[in-house]
């Protein structure tokens, strides 16, 4: 195995292959920076270029792009509270409040370092599980996948534990309900589409994310007329290395989140956005002192960022070994593989295992390269937070509108963007959490699909499968923990979250800008 790995590395370090890897990294960084443009869009852009390339060079370029997309998408999430991609939406919860305290550099430094380590762990996992991955992936059935989606949904209770688990649940159910708009998974009929062709396709995730998080934040930012960093611009760029050191201080959080990221990434439908929300919930739950989560806790940045890069290693496992894409990005990657004459699936494992090792190396190298470039650019890009909102926000409004339009290129994208934006603002002023909506919206289709397959294949017998029981116990444990963490008030106020003033353990950040900090309450 070591010999094969070294052979693969030799294939990769040819100047031409390295050049294509670098090009993929560059394009991946740009698509990550632009809100609404995903890795899949970037890969689609590169597809015409793979014709005539050596398979190793083509793979290096495509994997290079995928690897760093989740590194640079942190810039807009932390600096302006607009998610660079769906995978970085959870980073906003703590990253943006840190930027508002003038600690954007610290948040970014921690994010890049965690991303790099997560990416390296993902690459190593891809390398390490080659001999055993196939039986592992095939062994997880629809019932276990359904329970995993329920596990993700149980995070709703954690993310809204301080504000109100009941309100959080309602918002989460709302998200699930909106995810049912469009084509039904189990029958050829449309639900709640009102005879609209646009709604028949369902609401695009990227539009929902931009509307829910970006619109209310940007409006409040420009209304307050105070830059994101407020007066605290001195710490804007100086905290990069402090952030990196904090990652090393929380090394077990990074390792744990990365491993979970790999596992969740390997499960079709649970990678990307869903896995980062699950990891965020687990991160908040794994510490005694949870008071700063959602108000600028660096651990809330480190956990999800490590996971969303290690997720790449996981998502490549079913794609390469079974030919099953776990998301849009890996689906386009598989198309690229076929274009260069490589057949993904068991044949690839049997006949060209060296290419899988080339991919693992590309993933590792691209993560290191991407992180180095990000560290170099942080100083310049973090200055965005010091710009007066009156000058910055109009550009962002335009960028968001055009980004949203990329989802399906129909006017409906803009209408949904505004409607969801208004809904997000109403949730904020009513003090209801927004994050559960996204969790419900992301996990709803997978929950319905897996439950339907489980019921039609096993009836109720699937409830007795060992994996299902184990995951059920885990879910109950999470819910019990969420309840116990609210032991300080009366029963009603504990669950409804009303009638009791919110007590901040320390003065709020020096900014009148909107409070995503309260998302975790």
């Amino acid at each position: 195995m070591t010999h094969a790995a070294l052979d693969a590395l030799t294939q990769l370090i040819k100047p031409e292959t390295l050049m294509w890897l670098g090009f993929g990294v560059l394009v991946g960084m740009i698509t990550g920076l632009l809100p609404g443009l995903s890795g899949a869009a970037g890969l689609a852009l590169l597809l015409p270029l793979v014709y005539g390339l050596e398979p190793a060079a083509a793979l290096a370029m495509m994997v290079g792009l995928l690897a760093v997309n989740n590194t640079t998408d942190t810039f807009p999430s932390v600096l302006i509270g607009v998610p660079g991609s769906s995978g970085s939406a959870s980073t906003i919860l703590d990253g943006y409040p840190l930027a508002k305290k003038g600690q954007a550099g610290r948040a970014l430094g921690a994010s890049f370092t965690a991303s790099m380590i997560g990416g390296l762990i993902g690459a190593f996992a891809l390398f390490a599980v080659l001999p055993i991955a196939r039986p592992l992936i095939v062994g997880i059935g629809s019932p276990e996948l359904f329970m995993l989606t329920l596990f993700g949904l149980s995070m709703v209770g954690i993310l809204s534990r301080r504000k109100s688990p009941l309100k959080g649940l309602i918002v989460g159910l709302f998200g699930m309900m909106f995810s049912t708009i469009g084509n039904a998974p189990a029958a050829s009929e449309y639900r709640y589409s009102f005879d609209s062709l646009y709604l028949a396709q369902g609401l695009p995730l990227v539009v929902v994310i931009l509307g829910l998080f970006a619109i209310p934040e940007l409006i409040e930012l420009i209304r307050s007329n105070t830059s994101v960093a407020g007066g605290g611009t001195t710490l804007l760029t100086s905290g990069r290395w402090q952030g990196a050191k904090e990652v090393l201080h929380h090394k077990w959080l990074v390792v744990r989140s990365s491993i979970f990221g790999v596992v969740l990434g390997a499960i079709p439908g649970l990678g990307g956005s869903a896995s980062t929300w699950i990891i965020y919930g687990l991160t908040t739950q794994s510490y005694k002192d949870k008071s700063q989560f959602g108000r600028g806790d660096i651990r809330g940045v480190i956990g999800p960022e490590a996971a969303n890069n290690s997720d790449n290693g996981g998502s490549l496992m079913p794609a390469l070994l079974l030919g099953i894409p776990s998301g849009a990005g890996t689906a386009v990657l598989l198309g690229g593989l076929i274009l260069v004459g490589v057949t993904p699936g068991p044949i690839l494992l049997d006949r060209q295992p060296d290419l899988i090792l080339v991919i693992a190396w590309s993933l590792a190298l691209a993560n290191v390269l991407g992180t180095a470039i990000c560290f170099l650019l942080t100083k310049q890009i973090a200055k965005i937070t010091a710009i007066r909102p009156g000058r910055l926000v109009p550009f962002l409004f335009v960028a968001i509108a055009i980004s949203a339009y990329q989802a399906s290129q129909k006017p409906g994208d803009l209408i949904v963007l505004l409607a969801v934006g208004a809904f997000g603002w109403v949730l904020t002023i009513a003090d209801w959490p927004r994050a559960p909506f996204l969790i419900g919206f992301v996990l709803g289709p997978a929950t319905e699909g897996y439950l339907w397959i489980s019921m039609s294949r096993y009836h109720f017998d699937w409830l007795l499968r060992p994996g299902v029981i184990a995951l059920g116990v885990l879910i109950v444990g999470v819910i019990v923990l969420a309840i116990r963490s609210r032991r300080s008030g009366g029963l009603g106020s504990k669950w409804i979250g009303a009638g009791r003033p919110t007590v901040h353990p320390q003065p709020p950040p020096p900014s009148p800008a909107p409070s995503l900090r309260s998302e975790v309450e």
């Binding site: 159910l173 699930m176 639900r191 409040e220 209304r223 509108a401 006017p411 803009l414 009303a498």
Partner: protein, 174 residues
């Protein structure tokens, strides 16, 4: 966003719960037209939602009728109320600007809409000088057109003046 005064927050919570309840009820009723396999999931979700909304409503109404709202506990100040009203007014103002941007994109396409909207916004809302407003709007227009040409962004074309179709696409050859 400055939190609303407690009484207002309760009222907003009640409004939201009523709205959510109505939508959950509608979803349940409308789902009766679907086949069984398409119906049970939205109905299941909505039924749980209805129960939870009722619980929240009862609780919030209980607080209001019992006079236990935070506002009566002396937590909020007059300044807070003013802030929340300003926040609301500000939100509707900027939403109106966003609606104008969306409408302009749909009617006139991205190049005209982006330039005209940014020029108007910088001049009227941001109170920038004419020269700065023009420069910013022009820079944004060039950035949008360049991105569309290079990375094949899809721009809204426009139904009245289809300016979005004027943007060329550049095919990069290696």
């Amino acid at each position: 966003m400055k939190s609303l005064q407690a009484g207002e927050k309760n009222a907003a919570g009640i409004t939201l719960a009523v709205l959510a309840l109505s939508i959950f009820v509608y979803v349940t009723v409308a789902a009766q037209e679907f086949r069984d396999v398409s119906r049970w999931f939205p109905v299941g979700v909505s039924l749980v939602g209805i129960v939870l909304c009722l619980a929240v409503l009862l609780w919030e109404l209980g607080i209001v009728t019992a006079g236990k709202s935070e506002s009566l506990e002396g937590d909020a100040t007059e300044g807070d109320t003013e802030s929340s009203m300003t926040a609301r007014r500000g939100f509707f103002t900027y939403m109106a600007w966003l609606v104008a941007l969306a409408a302009a994109l749909m009617l006139f396409g991205a190049p005209i809409a982006v330039f005209a909207w940014l020029l108007a916004f910088f001049r009227i809302r941001s109170k920038e000088s004419w020269i700065r407003s023009l420069l910013y709007a022009l820079a944004a227009l060039l950035a949008v057109v360049a991105l569309a040409a290079l990375v094949h962004l899809f721009l809204p074309t426009g139904s009245v003046i289809p300016s979005g179709t004027w943007v060329p696409h550049v095919n990069i050859k290696f």
